[in-house]
Symmetry: C2
Subunit: 349 residues, 2 copies
Amino acid sequence: MHIDELETPFAAVNLDKLESNIVKLQRYLDEHSINNRPHIKTHKIPEIAHMQIKAGAVGITCQKLSEAEVMAQAGIRDILVTYNIIGTAKLQRLMHLARRTKLSVTADSEFTVNGLSTAAQCEQLELAVLIEFDSGAQRCGLQSPQEAAALAQIISASPGLHFAGLMTYPSNPKTDPFVKETKALLKRENIQLECVSGGGTPNLWQAHTLTEVTEHRAGTYVYGDRHIIKSGAMSLDDCAFTVTTTVVSRPTSERAILDGGSKTFSSDLLDLDGYGAIIEYPQACIYSLSEEHGHVDLSACSNKPQIGERLTVVPNHCCLVSNLYNQIFGLRGSRVEVIWPVAARGSVH
Amino acid sequence: MHIDELETPFAAVNLDKLESNIVKLQRYLDEHSINNRPHIKTHKIPEIAHMQIKAGAVGITCQKLSEAEVMAQAGIRDILVTYNIIGTAKLQRLMHLARRTKLSVTADSEFTVNGLSTAAQCEQLELAVLIEFDSGAQRCGLQSPQEAAALAQIISASPGLHFAGLMTYPSNPKTDPFVKETKALLKRENIQLECVSGGGTPNLWQAHTLTEVTEHRAGTYVYGDRHIIKSGAMSLDDCAFTVTTTVVSRPTSERAILDGGSKTFSSDLLDLDGYGAIIEYPQACIYSLSEEHGHVDLSACSNKPQIGERLTVVPNHCCLVSNLYNQIFGLRGSRVEVIWPVAARGSVH
C-alpha cells in the first residue's frame, strides 16, 4: 500500500528513522556501559519492544501493569514496572507476571512494600523491588536519602521481597549526590545497591555524566517529537512519528482547518508554540484544536495549502498521540511495510 | 459487580443522572418545538444514542464518518455528519451510509460540494447537504450570508445534491441575523431553508431565544463536566461521568499522586483551575498531569487522603476523556449495571 492510499488522519512511523533511533541510543549507552531499558509507554507496540531488545536492551520498562501484561504475552521476558502497584487485584496480576518473567517493580512507601510482600509470600515468589526517589520532578518518590535508606531496610527485611536498587525520573545532576548519600547509609546496614535506574529522553545524551546510574530508561527517543526537539536531544529530521492530515476547510485567506484535533494530536502544549509542526509549511501554526479540527494560522506563509491537500505533522508529545490510535502504519519510504496495532493502548489499569 | 471491585483508574457513568440529563434536554427542546439531534462524539456508545432517540431525538450528529458507520451498524437511521467529507475513499464510504440511513452532511466550500455531487451522481443517490457558517467560533464555516447564499445556489444546481439548510457551531446571538440575511438572499432565488441547525451544551438553555434555529445539537450535556459546570449550564450534581482513581503515593504532606494522568484525564485545561474536581476532597487541586500520574496539591485540605484511598474525579472535558477508554461502566448506585464498549472510539477517519 502507498501512503497516499491511507485515509487521514493517520499516524505513521518512518521505519528507517525508528531503526536508526533504536541503534543510536543503544550504541551510546553501550559505549558508556549503561544498561538500556527502554520505556514502552511511547509506542505500546510489542514488535518495537522486540526490536529494542534485539538491539541490546536488557529489558523494558512499563508504566502500567496492563502494558507489562501485553508485553509479556508478546514474549518479552525482563520487565520493570515503574509504579506503586496497589490493591489486591493488581497485586495478584503482578504475581502472575512474576511467575513467567524476570519482573521488577518500584515502591516509594511502606504501604506499597507491605502489599508487595504479602502478595509475594502468598505466591511463594521473590519479587525484586527498587525504591523510587524524587530527583526534583516532584511526582512520586522519597524525598531524602534517609527516607530511601529506611525503606530499603524495610524491603530487605520483608519476606518475599528482594531490594534491587534505586530508581528516579528524570535522572539529572541531583541524582548522583542522592544515590551516594543513600549508598553510604545502606553500607552501614550491609545493604548493596545492585541497580540505579535513571530515565528520560531530553537528558539522554548526558546519561554518561552520572557516575552512579547503571541503567537508563528512555521512551520518547524511539519516535521523537517537538518537545524532544526543543530539548535539543533530537532533530526534526530524527523524528520517526508523524500524523498526516487533510485540509478540509479554508474559511479565510489566513486560516486552514485540518481533519485532526485534540482527539488526533492530544491537547499537550508542553510550553510549545502551537500543537504540532507542519513539515510542508514550517511557517504555519496549529494555534488551536477542537476535538476533530486543527485550526491553522497561515498568516506567516507565503505559499498556502489548499483544501484537499495533505499535511504531515510532527506532534508535540508522541506518547500521548500514539495512545489515541488503534493502529500505527510503519512506512518504508512511501510504502506501508507493516500495520501495527497499538496493542497496549487503552490499558488503563 | 460492586463499584469497589473495579480496578482503577476506570470511567463510569451514573445511569440515573444520564437518563435524567437525556430527559431534561428533550423536554426543554420539545417545549420550544426545537428538534433534538444530540452529538454522539461525547459518548460514542450506540446504546446511549438509542436512549437519546427513544427519548425523542429526531436523529443524531456525528463528527467523523467512522462514528456514523458505527452508529448505522447499531441501527441508528437518521444521521447528520457535521464535517466536510473529502477524498475518494471517504466519499465512497459516505455513499454506503447514504444507501441505508437518512444521511445528511455539511459543506463550507465548492471543493467539498463538488466531491459530494460527483459521488452522489455515481451512486445515483440524492444527498442532503447543509451549509456550515461561522457564528464566531472561527473554525470552519462561511464568513458571510453572501458566501452562504452563493454556495446554496451551487448545491441546489448540483446533480445528486439537495440543499437542506444551514448549520453552525455554537449557536449564539450572531446566528439569527446571519440566518435571516441568508434567507432573504435565498428567497430571491426561490431556495427554501428547511433546517437551521445550531449546537452546543454551554448555550443549551438559551436555544429557545434563537427564533431561526430549528434543531439543536448538544453533545456534552449527556455526561456533563467541569467545563459545562463553569458555563452554568449544568451543576456538579448533574454530572453523570466520573473517573475513579487511587492514591498511589503521598511523597510529602502536601502532595498526593493519583494513578491517572494525561492518558486518563486528557490534558484539556479549558481555562479551568486544575485537571479535574475531586468529589471527596473539593479543596484538593490536580495541578499537574504526567502520562500516568495525577499530581494533587493538598495544602488547602484539612483532611487528607491516604495511600490506597479511592478518589472520584469529574474531569474538565468528558468528550476527550471518554475517548481514552475502551469501556465505560454504567452504574446504578454502586452496582455495575452495564459495561459499554466505547464503540466509536479510535475511529479517527
